[in-house]
């Protein structure tokens, strides 16, 4: 366990009430608390004071109401795969484990939508869609819960074509700070009826309420899918190929960059035999003729930029292996330096600045002397540098943080964002202000105060300290 939190202990009366109400689903055991106090980020764990395993929206509301009475912080827990310390109990409090809210409530093939409980993971939803001819495209690396993905405005490799959680959540059920249950949005494909509460909740990282149910868009599985891998002589050459593809308006489904080091990591971790050079992974969705046309255009663009050995993965199992390897890049990267923790950066810039942003970043990587594989959803201008530092080496840790700060400020200077898809959490609050300015921070704080005046919903996240 860590050093004691700088916050009051869990009120005995609250602990008693939760224990009586939830029995063995309420826990203050060290192992349970520690498990719920860490995520996949490099931030040191900070366990909550207690964990409650909820099974319904109404139970979540009951727990929040009790915590509200005592002014005790409440933190939602999905799969624990956040990357910015979102679920760390920085002010203690009660963690609500939502993994048992795992029911797919409705799949409506005729409307291309589904309603799920927040604990359903992206893979579980796609499993439930078997035989419907539909799929849910948003795919962060981890098999995250859909509630957590909505709360962090997650995306992944398909966003260049299908958008992010921002575009794909039609409505939500949210437990508010005082335990009231809010329904937002609806099932109509568009609406001008009032303030966009759905989009306000998406990306709010549990600080405005806890999303317990959501309705998401589904898409027909394309008639034809083909994927390809292509190595390039340099990162700038690969990036230029990406930029040209996007600017031509090719409706590509996925276009991912991996640098030579990331490929090395993947080859080791996933037992693949890819050429260890800067590489693009492509996927094309559409009709057979459409896919052929897109692929031909992109193959020509790649050739113009020195791409070699455009290699096709047409069998579903080859494609799956290829994309699983891509999704495992984070864990593969960790394998490059045993014992290291990875600081995952997440900048996103306008595509016109992508080459410049990556070029400056490569110089910076060369200077800091730490292994830094790069992977990125470059079709959106979003890329991740995994900075591998020994957590026990203060100098390495500080070099990694300074690098991340420079990268975030570089992206912001280039009209981009410090986070394309991971969120702010506790790690990026200082950049939020330089990205959006003081008035925006004040407005965000006013919204937070309006919905959570006692600051009990995941306190200490998103908003920088006053």
């Amino acid at each position: 366990m860590n050093a004691p939190h700088p916050h009051p202990p869990l009120p005995a009366q609250l602990a008693e009430a939760l224990s009586v109400r939830f029995g063995s689903r309420f826990s203050v055991a060290d192992a349970v608390r520690l498990h719920h106090g860490k995520d996949e980020s490099s931030h040191p764990p900070q366990p909550p004071d207690a964990v409650v395993f909820a099974e319904s929206t109404e139970e979540v509301a009951e727990i929040v109401r009790l915590c509200h009475t005592h002014g005790t912080p409440v933190i939602a827990y999905g799969t624990g795969t956040s990357l910015e310390g979102h679920l760390l109990a920085v002010r203690g409090g009660v963690c609500i484990d939502l993994s048992a809210l795992n029911k797919v409530l409705a799949v409506r093939p005729e409307d291309l939508d589904a309603t799920v409980q927040c604990g359903v993971t992206r893979k579980a939803l796609n499993g439930a869609l078997n035989n419907t001819g539909l799929f849910f495209p948003i795919d962060p690396g981890a098999d995250a819960s859909l509630g957590g993905m909505a709360a962090t405005r997650a995306s992944g490799t398909n966003a260049v074509r299908y958008g992010t959680m921002r575009e794909n959540v039609l409505g939500t059920t949210v437990v508010l700070a005082d335990g009231r249950i809010l329904k937002t949005g609806g099932r109509a494909k568009k609406s001008s009826a009032g303030y966009d509460l759905t989009r306000l909740m998406v990306g709010s990282e549990g600080t405005l309420g806890i999303i317990t149910e959501l309705t998401v868009r589904l898409y027909p599985i394309p008639e034809a899918i083909s994927a390809a891998v292509c190595a390039f002589p340099s990162i700038p050459a690969a990036v230029d190929a990406v930029i040209q593809t996007i600017q031509l308006g090719v409706p590509i489904a996925r276009i991912e960059l991996l640098d030579a080091l990331a490929i090395t990591a993947i080859n080791r971790y996933s037992k693949t035999t890819l050429r260890e050079e800067p590489t693009l992974f492509f996927e094309f969705h559409g009709s057979p003729a459409g896919v052929e046309e897109q692929a031909k255009t992109v193959q020509e663009i790649a050739a113009e930029h020195g791409g070699k050995d455009f290699e096709w993965a047409t069998r579903p199992e080859d494609r799956s292996r290829m994309w699983q390897a891509r999704h495992d890049a984070y864990w593969a990267g960790l394998g490059l330096k045993p014992g290291a923790r990875a600081l995952s950066t997440d900048v996103c810039v306008p595509i016109s600045r992508l080459a410049e942003c990556i070029a400056e970043t490569l110089e910076d990587i060369a200077a800091i002397g730490l292994p830094c594989p790069i992977v990125g959803h470059v079709g959106d201008g979003n890329f991740h540098v995994l900075v591998l530092a020994n957590p026990d080496d203060a100098d390495e840790v500080s070099r990694s943080h300074e690098f991340a700060a420079r990268l975030a400020e570089r992206a912001i200077r280039m009209d981009g964002t410090c986070t394309g898809e991971h969120g702010i959490g506790i790690g990026k609050q200082e950049y939020l202000r330089s990205e959006h300015g003081g008035v925006a921070i004040d407005v965000m704080r006013a919204l937070k105060n309006a919905l959570d005046p006692d600051n009990i919903m995941n306190p200490g996240k998103i908003l920088p300290p006053i």
Copy 2:
């Protein structure tokens, strides 16, 4: 002029300050006030107490600051084409005419985006894009200002493929209730950096702030475009063809329904010679092969549902004439009953309920005995019934309102919305509650209070009276 407003007159000190600062750009003339106190809706005009013609964000901020000091309402005016009384001065106050904020500030072809002042209209933006190979797809019937379109979360005929203002505004500059200038969003294609203030402002109808600049997405003009018109034996047959097209995932760009009466109106108004039967207008965007493939699929679907004379409009001038006729449907409809005002309904339902919703609505139309042409963006489940009533005939007016109420409640009962793209304004506040529920209304009100505690920003709109 109407009956006097139930509100205090413009404070003399404020009038004096605005007059000194803005000279002839400040007006209290009856003609100017009346012009700024009416929109395209059937709501009777309600003029503001004064109008100021602003020329920059800073000037808007100055005006708002002055009004804030006096607690005087502020209403933004773009092109006056709103359809729910958005700009009526229901509590008096100062109208800010934004039409001189008409500069396209930047077009960035390499990033597929543009930044414009709020008074730029959709046609002016597309004019400025000439020779870039890009276009801006959102097209409400009127040549509305982009600021107004953002404020009402507008869409139009292309939304089925390109989305609405919700999906196409990347960032905004907003003057807040106390005159502070807020920047929201940015130019990165995606971001998880904090609360989604952009989406909060889009659709807020001037009640949270005045959008003075916005950055919007652009799209490459498709390599191939083709359009077609096809008549059907009945509305249900046409609707079934639409549903099948959407459910198959055909990436159609436009699919519009017009009933026989709407076609009659258009033929008269636009001098076209369309067959006066239920009709679908289609448009296909893509590569030449892609467009051919889509068109073939849709032509087959249409034939299965009794569609006849699938007629192609391939020359750009034929397509323009066809879509201009569609955009003029509102004014064409008015021509069916000289002297009438049109109450334009705007429901949107999940596509699975569209046939049922239209069928029930047709029965209702038959019962009310008023001419009611129907036009709709049916690919999104959105359709408009234009109810033509003589404004001097109290019985006709009340029949039209009762019909609109039944239609809104029908759509909400079918998991839809009372407004797909026009907004709430003053006309639909009573439906907002039945659509979203009391908790959502309370949350919207809390947000409004947080950003505009004195309720000076377009008061009396969106939120139902307490």
